[in-house]
Amino acid sequence: MLQSTIIVIGNGMVGYKFCEKLVSKTSNFNLIVFGEEPRHAYDRVHLSEYFNGKTADDLYMSSHSWYEQNNITLHLGDPVNEIDRENKTVHSLKGLTLNYDYLVLATGSAPFVPDIPGIEKDGVFVYRTIEDLELIKAYASKSRSGTVIGGGLLGLEAAKALIDLGIQETHVVEFAPRLMPRQIDDAGSNMLQSKLKQLNVNIHLNKSTSVIEGEGAVSSLKFNDNTELFTDMLIISAGIRPRDELAKLSGLETGIRGGITVNECMQTSDPAIYAIGECALYNGMIYGLVAPGYDMAEVAVSKILNTGKTFNGFDMSTKLKLIGVDVASFGDAFITEPDCRTVVFEDSHKGVYKRINISSDGKQLLGGILIGDASAYNMLLQTVNNKIVLPPDPEDMILGTRGAGESNAGAGVMSLPDEALICSCEAVTKGDIYSAVCNDGVTDIAGMKKCTKAGTGCGGCVPLVKDLIAGTMKANGQYVKNVICEHFDYSRQELFDLVKMDKVKNYDLVLDHFGKGDGCEVCKPVVAGILSSLWNDVIVKQDTIQDSNDRFLANIQKGGTYSVVPRIPGGEITPDKLIVIGQVAKKYGLYTKITGGQRIDLFGAHVGDLPLIWEELIVAGFESGHAYGKALRTVKSCVGSTWCRFGLHDSVSFAIEVEDRYKGIRSPHKLKGGVSGCIRECAEAQAKDFGIIATEKGWNVYVCGNGGSKPQHAQLIAADVDKETCIKYLDRFLMFYIKTADPLTRTATWLNKMEGGIAYLKNVVVNDSLGIGALLEDEMQGLVNTYHCEWKEVVENPQLRKRFNHFINVDEKDPSVKFETMRGQVKANW
């Protein structure tokens, strides 16, 4: 069968989305894409994150091989410069001439650059592509001040980029009397302006630039009111213009102020040619957001496949974080009295402004504006779009319920109708999400993204989607049980108790007694951890149920080598031991680095060298540091009263005592501790799972802190206690955590999920409200008494040692391991 050919001109977000939607429905077309930029489609919406550590790779919409995998021919860096409509062919810059049956213009838009004298000077940029960003980045390195012309959404994004690039003095110049004139009102603009001022962004409103001054490069801007602003660089962000030049050249109908005219099926005046995204003009309007562009892509695919979806305009409500400030505008944001009733809330201290417009009969929400706190946005937008009848006190929607009543946020989402559009980028409704949970077994946001694509566009709906997943599961009675995996119908806590009661000591028996099937990579390490927390046997005796790190008692790294971390309790180490670490590292060619936990990590060890390395370390008095295990890592300490003139007590000695007490104990996740000698807190004990801080009268005990991706301070459970009491509380706390937490749950998350929170935990640990204090202490003492260094066991046991080889049939190291050199040390060549 001869395939029809679709040619897509433009490989931006919308052009990409067209391809994605088409290939997900059919492979009956020969699909060819032309892109002007040298890169394949990337996420322009999150462009400013390029300055925030994200790389071009992070921004790509797909891998490069995706096009090949889906039989799409991609011509990059090759714009189409002519369309021959009569013969249905296109000609590209590089000289390709190709036939099409359907042609899709997804040419997007270009920044509008006003004709100001001096605009051609060096140091003047636009803000659209990764290449633009690279030019800005290079120039910013020698600039002190930077200015953006344009106080709209993109202009403020550009100002954020300047701040991220370390520009000390940032200005935004806007022609209109307010910022973001299309989205927010004067009062909202004032609030936004004062928030931005706190962040060192200077706003100049009512300013029309008459000339850009400077010799060769920009040095200042002159305005119509004869004022002047000195600046080292300038970004123009004065709006966008649809890229319709190719359409015009081909005689397609375009609008007076630009844009390719399309009908409700996205067809241009030539029915074989479609236009989608920012280049398309529908009903006299250009849609400069990504969600309507995606919708247009879907409509064009639908028309080509004859499935009957049409484009009927698009809700331009929007929520963003601009330079760290929430800004949202939804529905009819500007309607004023007497056509409606307006409720306004303003808190200039916190920088919050909220406005809602309500129909005159008080029954419908028409629209509104949120500055500084847009947490209510999703719910308010749903209320507008689904015409939900308002409660008698509609102001509660922006003020929250006041008085004694319990807040009932969850009920709100669940009361939405099934057709409520939740993810507008991917057109996913509440009904779709409900069905994904009930019929496809989706239980989390990652699964939902895979199943429905909800939340994969701008990401703004993610909190709402999460609430809907949780709400639906709860309604189905699903949420009650938190099972480990398909092989065990129990939570970790339940299985822990069962294994303990029946005194089961190996994985296969646990599976026979309480599970089904053959196990998997989820339940094996969970059971291994439980067995270890209960019986504290040498873990490598059941090596194949351990996660790889626990199986080889080292941390697997890029390239397949391992890292070795000897225990250095409290961070205290003798010069002799330091020398041994250096000698061992040199002998086995290891990279060395000081860790965040006050010890030394040695990277790049071949699996076969691990027992040899440890043999030498053990002779020198080292023990395993359990850096590979869900176990105590380190107890960090400051130098304390032994040396520090501020130190109240000897924090190092206490840290060593605590680290030695809990070392080797397996837990649901890793554990970290800290001991500080005074309130200056140099050991950062309040960022640890347990922290101890010296006071004039004794020690303060903190629990459930965390660093990592969601930092959380530890909370005080006991003040001014002596060492013995401190240890007693920690024994109870840790054992309670080990027995009850879900797998891979740090203490902070465990506490956050605990009903009753810190007050409850404190009651259990300090007041012994459950009457299990003595039991927990006994169980902990049992673990302390059975401590062994796992590496010592391996080094001394030839059977166990044999397991540490890459190959079992030849005596060779893995030849695929390669290193290169960096700053005088090895680095994985990967």
């Binding site: 998997c520 094996k524 190959f807 079992i808």
Partner: protein, 116 residues
């Protein structure tokens, strides 16, 4: 015309070199092959040792188990927990990367792998 490709059985290792319910790696020429002793099911499997996801020589160090109604035997790469069917080599975690599998037979404590 029918073409048959001769399967050549090579002696890979001794059965007790491979840990129970786990894997180990052998070298055959320049190839690295992972062998799995699925003791719980009384089955043996062999696959390429390279995980195609991030090109790491690691599958023999992964945990094995089963998945779904049919109890499909599988191995999980220790790096990012991509799982692969030990029967077909298909990636079970939704990615488009499959691995090569080899027939295995065990005779008198010796493990043989069939190489094309």
């Amino acid at each position: 015309m029918e073409t048959t490709i001769a399967l050549q059985w090579i002696l890979a290792c001794y059965a007790d070199d491979v840990p129970e319910n786990g894997g180990a790696c052998i070298k055959h020429g320049d190839e690295q092959i992972a062998i799995y002793n699925f003791k719980r099911r009384g089955e043996w499997y062999a696959t390429q040792n390279l995980c195609p996801h991030k090109q790491q020589m690691a599958l023999s160090r992964g945990m094995i188990g089963s998945s779904g109604e049919t109890c499909e035997p599988k191995v999980a790469c220790p790096f990012h927990k991509k799982t692969f069917s030990l029967l077909t080599g298909a990636c079970l975690t939704g990615d488009e990367c499959n691995i090569k599998t080899y027939p295995v037979k065990v005779d008198e404590g010796r493990v043989y792998i069939g190489i094309m």
